[in-house]
Amino acid sequence: MSKKGIRPKSPRNLLFVFEILALLLLFVYEGDKIDRLTLGTGIGLVIIIYLSNYILTKISYGDNYIFLIVTMLISIGIVMIYRIDSSLGIKQLIWLSIGIFLFFLTYFILKYIRGWKNFIYLYIIASYILFFITFVFGSRKGGAINWVSFGGIAFQPAEITKLLVIFILASYYSDTSRWKELKYGPYYLMGIIYSFILLLFLQRDLGTALVFYGIFIMIQFIYEEDRKLVLYNIGLFAIGGILGYTLFDHVKIRFQAWLNPWKYIERQGYQITQSLFAIAEGGFFGRGLGLGYPDFIPVVYTDFIFSAICEEMGVFTGIGIIMLFMILVYRGFKIAISQESLFYKILALGISILFGIQSFIILGGVLKMIPLTGLTLPFVSYGGSSILSSFIALGVLQICSEEIKIKEEFDEQRD
């Protein structure tokens, strides 16, 4: 460590040490059946993560901590997923490699191509097309229609729509004067976002609907000059919530399972109680990697990965993950505050809010602090769509952390 202050180099080495230790534990657990695959996966993980962190410090002069935080999260995730199901662990490593590739790709595309704020119509149309595809080709998984399968590769269109929504909001609020001239201009945006939320509701994807709403209301709270719109938005949410509860059984069931899961332990409350068992068994220090029974929890490697981590690595690791998300959100907001260009400022905010709200909803859900809605824990849960879209979002955040040349975006300069 030099006198110039902490450089990203030393946390990178700490991450390296963590990974070596975690992998050693994994080998101990595997015991007699250490195979080349495990070894290869382990070495692959370490190399990919160390190298990408190293490369990033060379090419980006922006914030290098966000990528570091994310690679820490994903390392914990991969070790856990590999321990639950080694073939999924290897797949996750492949997703991670593609994700990191997309991160750099997004970074370079955004660095050298400008003018993203002018395509608002394109974003809106693309979002509707994705919804359309979901409804026509979608299949039901875990109660929600949110998976589309093409040629054997399944993906969740909503993961892409999340990013589009952030781009729509950023384009809109970085150029409000354009909309103000229109009659009912400000209401258009609300209409569009609410139509998305309604569509998600119909797909029974309550978690994503909540994420969309969360991003919308927070950006609106910060940038909407017409304050009564913010109030309308909150009011509509309350009405929508009550209507949803009375009209849709799947909302009611989730709510009841939250209030008293023990009463419905054999059906609606099964998942959440299994999650609580796992966390309770873990204690503060965990049962030890490979010594718990995370596979008792349904869909443990996606939505409930946090419970599995708490069982085997302990609640202290769980708290560590929560704090990593907190720092990630904090760094994201810091990037937004120091960004001069309004469009990129809002993008940075949107992405930080996305990471923050999504992790809060699923963490609170598996802990039974708030009603459970199915969502992945960004960067930790298993899942291609989730990893890829999260890395694209991170790529966007990375570019936002750099100084955007003002001469290109002079119209955004503010006081």
């Binding site: 332990i265 068994e281 030890g288 769980g318 923050g356 802990l367 602090m369």
Partner: protein, 468 residues
């Protein structure tokens, strides 16, 4: 700082609070909730070892087998040869209904698994666990059987223990249920208004009636300036409320000893006002009323809420075990033990030893003093009075030939309209071998008449049959 930046910071602070609330919640859950959650019978982790390990047997103090497991169709099955007799002590361990009683509390010992998963894993590498440990209880099967027979057809509880070592010889709570036949009976058991699932001995809270006068007597002896004499006219008015003696009978001029022997209500109600609720409360505290009794089975705390709002009527009523005082039978057995044991109250023990499959004693539970209820001199004085209760007072039905018995009867009014019949005592008075508490719930007769003979039979059995 402009408006937007301020709002951004508001949202950021909001996020930080959200994440901090997650951390607070998970810590709270781990510290306060986790233990109860883990023991839920739906937690499959409780059963994971059950498939590969032969669950240990549970034995009485003379090594008689009370519960055991055997392999049947590749699965271990649990057998309870005495059905109802140990429903509240041993409890049960079934996949469908979970675990309760000692089967729950000593689950790890019975399966020979360690609390710590890592140690367990290492242990399993060296010698895989295939058989659990046996539990040897302090219970005497013959006495337990006899006690249940004496209580049969009634509601209530009996606790018999060694006042010096704390070993519980018998603990019965009726109504009970048949643990070997849970499947057929479950619906009836769970819907029965008499709650057979509740262990009345440790969790039943009753008005102690006149048995509580033992504590009032201790408090009176500890109040130096108290005038121990009194003229009883059969009733007295305290704060507008009239307290009467049994059948309104006047006892005339009496002292403390005669008051206890004759169980004079007016004496104790009047004197308790002079003693005061603080003094009464301190004595109650020392006898573990208001406190948790550490025990192998879940207990409820008895209560004498002297720190709350007690008016004079309440103090007077509680002095004779009515009003706001509530006790568990186990607690009353400990009160008797305390007087028997020179004021020292020992921890009640139900499990004597944990024995490994090759008959090695893994752990044995020894006598522990929980509290000094009173000083030896006071205890001796109270003991003399209690001997007189059985010799010539209300407890004559507990008399045993050639053996000096100390005791106190109680007849407790309650909401049901039918009084509870109590007897607590110990024998032999000089060298106590057994302390006993008997309560017959809603019996509608006096403790001296119905509870005392039961206590006598228990004490005779212990003195004649339990040697070590």
């Amino acid at each position: 700082m402009n408006k937007e930046t301020k709002r951004i910071i508001v949202v950021l602070v909001g996020f930080c609070l959200m994440f901090i609330s997650l951390i607070v919640y998970i810590s709270y859950f781990q510290v306060f909730k986790a233990e109860a959650v883990k023991n839920n019978s739906y937690n499959k982790r409780l059963w994971i070892n059950e498939e590969s390990i032969l669950r240990g047997s549970i034995l009485d103090r003379n090594h008689k087998v009370l519960a055991y497991s055997e392999k049947k169709d590749d699965l271990y099955k649990r057998y309870y040869p005495y059905g109802r007799l140990y429903s509240h002590i041993i409890g049960y361990s079934y996949r469908e209904y979970g675990k309760v009683g000692l089967e729950l509390q000593y689950n790890n010992a019975l399966l020979n698994i360690n609390e710590n998963a890592a140690i367990n894993e290492i242990k399993n590498l060296v010698i895989p666990t295939t058989e659990g440990n046996n539990l040897r209880l302090t219970i005497d099967h013959e006495l337990q059987n006899k006690a249940r027979g004496l209580l049969k057809g009634k509601k209530g509880s009996i606790v018999a223990m060694n006042p010096v070592t704390g070993e519980i010889y018998a603990m019965v709570s009726l109504p009970d249920f048949d643990v070997s036949n849970l499947k057929e009976d479950w619906k009836e058991i769970s819907e029965n208004p008499n709650s057979p699932l509740v262990n009345r001995a440790t969790q039943g809270l009753y008005a102690p009636g006149s048995t509580f006068k033992i504590l009032t007597t201790v408090a009176a002896l500890g109040t130096p300036n108290l005038d121990k004499d009194y003229d009883c006219v059969g009733s007295t008015k305290i704060n507008g409320y009239i307290f009467k003696d049994y059948q309104g009978k006047a006892h005339g001029h009496i002292d403390l000893k005669q008051a206890l022997v004759k169980s004079c209500n007016t004496y104790f109600t009047e004197k308790s006002i002079e003693i005061g609720k603080e003094k009464m409360g301190n004595v109650a505290d020392k006898f573990l009323i208001n406190g948790d009794i550490p025990f192998d089975l879940p207990t409820k705390s008895s209560q004498y809420p002297y720190k709350g709002n007690l008016d004079k009527t309440d103090i007077a009523a509680s002095a004779i075990g009515q009003g706001k005082v509530l006790v568990t039978p186990l607690n009353m057995a400990l009160v008797a033990s305390g007087i028997a044991n020179g004021g020292e109250i020992v921890k009640p023990i139900l499990v004597k030893e944990i024995i490994s499959k090759n008959d090695k004693v893994m752990k044995s539970y020894n006598t522990e003093v929980l509290s000094q209820g009173t000083d030896p001199i006071t205890a001796e004085k109270v003991k003399e009075m209690m001997v007189e209760v059985v010799k010539s007072g209300t407890g004559t039905n507990a008399r045993i030939k050639n053996i000096e018995v100390a005791g106190k009867t109680g007849t407790a009014e309650n909401a049901s309209g039918k009084s509870h019949a109590w007897f607590v005592g110990f024998a032999p008075a000089k060298e106590p071998k057994v302390a006993v508490a008997v309560i017959l719930e809603e019996e509608g007769s006096t403790g001296g008449k119905t509870a005392a003979p039961i206590a006598r039979d228990i004490m005779i059995h212990v003195i004649n049959n339990i040697k070590d």
